[in-house]
């Protein structure tokens, strides 16, 4: 590769022509020649990072689904004893935590990472190594929470010491007096690591979208998915501090004897609820907005029409983001906040239905009069609109305080948010995977199997969750280990479990189909869907450098205009840079940073506690956290000093070499 000697930030190293020895790659900075595990652990390529996010998140989706099936099998028959009560509590706690933090959020992050930089014509995200760190912090945080399964519980009940506090960990259930074991500690530390990963990823995405758009790509020309990425990232950076502080306060309560949530010293458990939901409600939009972006990409492509009301969709998304911060207390209507607070939050909750409704009408307007092609991504998007609407309607019911008082903590609520999170979220994400698989791997998902899976997921999901409306209305409380036959809940619980098993089976088939297609699927042509946005101007899958030359954008839906629009609207390219495309080197330090954090967090679990683990008693002070902190600090310093490094690619005249 020719490098320009005047480029001072290029490391002085001999040009490597052959692959260096494998072992040494673990002890020096990896280069573009290192492949395999070293490359995966150290990569700074947003596409590989996105794929790894996707792989881990889909795996956790399966684990979370399995936990849900344990719950459903337990509830299939009255007075069932498939799992004991503690295990049941652990299952619903870990199911919620896994699905929200380890499956849906990272699945969104996978799309953000892979698609967003391509949609804005960027080479990579703004801070590629920070992106690597976000990925590994997420992976280590996810492993960390799940490690709790392996440690024995204090009283011998349940499976290991997995948390049994519900996914929102209400005080005082989390205090030492109610949970002396390790479960809550694992939950606290794990969520803090995951929060750090999300925060850093969001700073990265915000900077990337605002700063690295191709020339001519004004904000109001951005694809809607990129817009929703931006809004979601802002929601994350404003919402996550609340949960982080709440978790830190809880950690101090459990480890250092403070009284933030301890009633006996005057602390207020209700504070936890407020702090949790100040994060928790924006979190709902953090989960759904990316999917709204995905659907807004899919619908115009398969209706062969531009998105109806682009500006309205974008601004509705932004308004949802703003209002999302002013409705948290509708999760707490029954806590007795007083008439004024309750009324205010009730009105705000009703208001937030307006921008959501605007979006739904815009999506319907997009399909209306289009030449609709019912491919799998389109089917999932239509499923999204209809099922998300059902979840939305029950949501509006909850905004009314007297109605909410009846439905609080009942299966009606379970039905509501699963319609939003599976009917909305999972449908949108599955649609996105079917739609972008050619971009991910250059291969296409089998359409017939895709449609079968769609039908199975649709039927299974509705069978599982629609009856829960009835169950909730007839008084079945959520988080109930079992119920008496006289309650009259047998029938719908049985069918709900049948539906859940169906849903689980088809999602597992989907998981296998995704893996198969990604590695072995049928190759497809460059632009299989006749798409509209900039990511389809790259190869399938995109080359490491994304765009050989930076595109110059003239209109919204640029690729569609290139193919079908007026000639003067066609995309131009900037002249190739004389020294080629600068590609930074991989780095070990982001990975080591997350290792340091993992060790420090593990040390905090055993800090000051005498707990027998695998036959030996741990009684530690701060040795392990300090060790982890030193690894972290050392890695940060090395990271700061190593610089971007890298080499230059000359895409056009070097096409064959690059694809190696």
């Amino acid at each position: 590769m020719a490098t320009n000697p005047t480029e001072s930030f290029i490391l002085d190293k001999p040009p490597e022509t052959k692959s260096p020895s494998k072992l040494s790659a673990w002890f020096r900075r990896p280069t573009q020649h290192d492949k395999g595990l070293v490359d995966l652990l150290t990569t700074i390529d947003h596409k590989k990072i996105g794929m790894m996010y996707g792989f881990f998140a889909l795996t956790f989706l399966m684990i979370g689904g399995l936990e849900a099936l344990f719950i459903r099998v337990q509830l299939m028959y009255p007075e069932n004893n498939f799992i004991d009560a503690r295990t049941y509590n652990q299952m619903f706690t870990m199911h919620g935590t896994t699905m929200v933090f380890l499956a849906i959020m990272p699945l969104s992050a996978a799309f953000f990472n892979f698609i967003m930089p391509l949609q804005i014509g960027a080479r990579d995200v703004a801070f590629p190594r920070m992106n690597t760190f976000s990925l590994w912090a997420f992976v280590f945080g996810a492993i960390f929470i799940n490690l709790s399964w392996l440690f024995p519980s204090v009283d011998g009940a349940g499976v290991g010491s997995a948390p049994a506090i519900g996914w929102f960990g209400y005080a005082p259930l989390t205090s030492k007096s109610y949970d002396a074991g390790l479960g809550t500690d694992f939950w606290i530390m794990g969520l803090q690591i995951l929060g750090l990963a999300s925060l850093l990823a969001s700073f990265n995405f915000i900077t990337t979208i605002l700063n690295m758009r191709a020339p001519g790509l004004k904000m109001m020309r951005l694809p809607v998915f990129t817009w929703m990425t931006l809004i979601t990232s802002f929601l994350i950076i404003m919402a996550f501090p609340a949960i982080t502080v709440a978790l830190v306060q809880l950690m101090f309560d459990r480890q250092f004897g403070t009284h933030f949530f301890e009633v006996e010293a005057g602390g207020k458990p209700i504070l936890w609820q407020h702090l949790f939901w100040i994060f928790g409600h924006p979190e709902v939009y953090i989960l759904i907005l990316p999917v709204m972006g995905i659907v807004s990409e899919i619908l115009p492509v398969f209706s062969r029409k531009p998105l109806f009301g682009y500006g309205l969709i974008v601004f509705s998304g932004a308004i949802i983001g703003f209002l999302g911060f002013s409705v948290w207390s509708h999760h707490m209507f029954t806590t007795g906040m007083g008439v004024i607070a309750t009324s205010a939050f009730s009105i705000m909750t009703m208001l937030i239905a307006i921008p959501t409704g605007v979006k739904i009408f815009n999506w319907i307007g997009t399909i209306w009069g289009g030449r609709v092609k019912f491919s799998t991504p389109m089917l999932f998007s239509i499923g999204f609109i209809s099922l998300f609407m059902l979840g939305g309607f029950t949501g509006i019911m909850h905004s009314s305080v007297p109605v909410d008082a009846q439905q609080q903590d009942s299966y009606f609520v379970i039905a509501h948010f699963h319609y939003v999170l599976i009917g909305g979220n999972i449908f949108g994400i599955l649609g996105g995977i079917y739609y972008w698989m050619p971009k991910f791997s250059g291969r296409q998902m089998n359409e017939t199997l895709g449609k079968v899976i769609w039908l199975g997921v649709f039927v299974g999901f509705n069978l599982a969750f629609f009856p829960m409306h009835y169950l909730g209305m007839t008084g079945m409380p959520r988080r109930t280990h079992t119920y008496k036959s006289e309650m009259g809940w047998d029938h719908w619980n049985f069918w709900s479990s049948v539906g859940a098993l169906t849903l689980g089976a088809f999602l597992f088939i989907f998981f296998l189909q995704t893996l198969y297609t990604f590695f072995k699927g049928k190759r497809c042509k460059e632009d299989p869907w006749d798409s509209r946005t900039l990511e389809w101007a790259t190869a399938n899958p995109p080359k490491s450098y994304n765009f050989a030359r930076t595109p110059i954008i003239k209109v919204r839906d640029q690729i569609w205009e290139n193919k079908h629009g007026a000639k003067e609207n066609s995309m131009d390219f900037e002249p190739a840079e004389s020294h080629g495309v600068h590609m930074p080197d991989n780095s070990w330090w982001p990975f080591y940073c997350s290792v340091g954090i993992f060790i420090a967090a593990l040390g905090m679990i055993f800090n000051r506690s005498e707990i027998t683990v695998f036959g030996s008693t741990f009684d530690h002070g701060f040795e392990i956290p300090i060790l982890g902190g030193v690894i972290l600090l050392f890695s940060i310093i090395k990271w700061a000093l190593e610089g971007p490094g890298g080499y230059h690619l000359h895409p056009e005249e070097d096409q064959t070499k690059i694809s190696n």
Partner: protein, 199 residues
């Protein structure tokens, strides 16, 4: 590319924009902690907070921290003018004032904890919420100052390695943004935690 700043769509350098995003996020961190303190402030009835605080000392350290911001601004200005000697002096001044502030806080914590028996959980043996919220809030701020001092010391050392380039002025400015923010947070903490007790 290396000789001049990388072009960005907004004209704001990437690192600076990311720092602004982080500071927005950090506002919410401190907002949550300060709210917690204000909500819990009146619950503890077995403590007279006016007798605890040493307002002269805290006023002094507040003044010192404000002064450090002046040094920081001058350091950033010097970095942009590529006047290395002046930047080093101003950075050293910022670090020195930051360390005085930290020393005051360490003394304050030590005095409260050992002299007045105010711990994270108790005051003179009785359960107390004031220590809980006070230490965690001001301690978090202290950690921010300490990280800032560490960051500035890193730049000071780096400036002696001979590797510092004119583009690094932007990085010093980003560190400066952080330093000023931590200062602004203290300007909020000082009235709502300390002065409010004297109303």
């Amino acid at each position: 590319m290396s000789g001049h700043a990388v072009q960005t769509s907004t004209g704001i350098p990437n690192k600076k924009l990311a720092m602004w995003a982080f500071l927005a996020s950090d506002c919410m961190f401190f907002g949550t902690l300060i709210s917690t303190h204000l909500i819990y402030r009146k619950i503890a009835d077995n403590i007279n907070i006016r007798e605890i605080f040493d307002i002269e000392l805290t006023s002094f350290s507040t003044f010192i921290l404000l002064g450090s911001s002046l040094f920081m601004a001058l350091a950033v200005s010097a970095a942009h003018k590529s006047s290395m000697q002046s930047m080093r002096k101003m950075l050293a001044g910022t670090i020195f004032f930051g360390l005085i502030f930290l020393a005051c806080q360490v003394y304050e914590f030590y005095h409260f904890a050992v002299g007045l028996e105010l711990t994270l959980s108790t005051f003179r043996g009785d359960y107390n919420l004031f220590g809980t919220t006070f230490y965690v809030l001001t301690g978090t701020h202290g950690v921010h100052v300490a990280l800032g001092v560490f960051w500035l010391i890193s730049w000071l050392i780096y400036s002696y390695t001979g590797k510092m380039k004119p583009e690094n002025a932007e990085d010093v400015e980003v560190a400066g943004l952080y330093w000023h923010f931590v200062d602004v947070v203290w300007i909020i903490i000082f009235p709502v935690v300390y002065l409010i007790e004297y109303i």
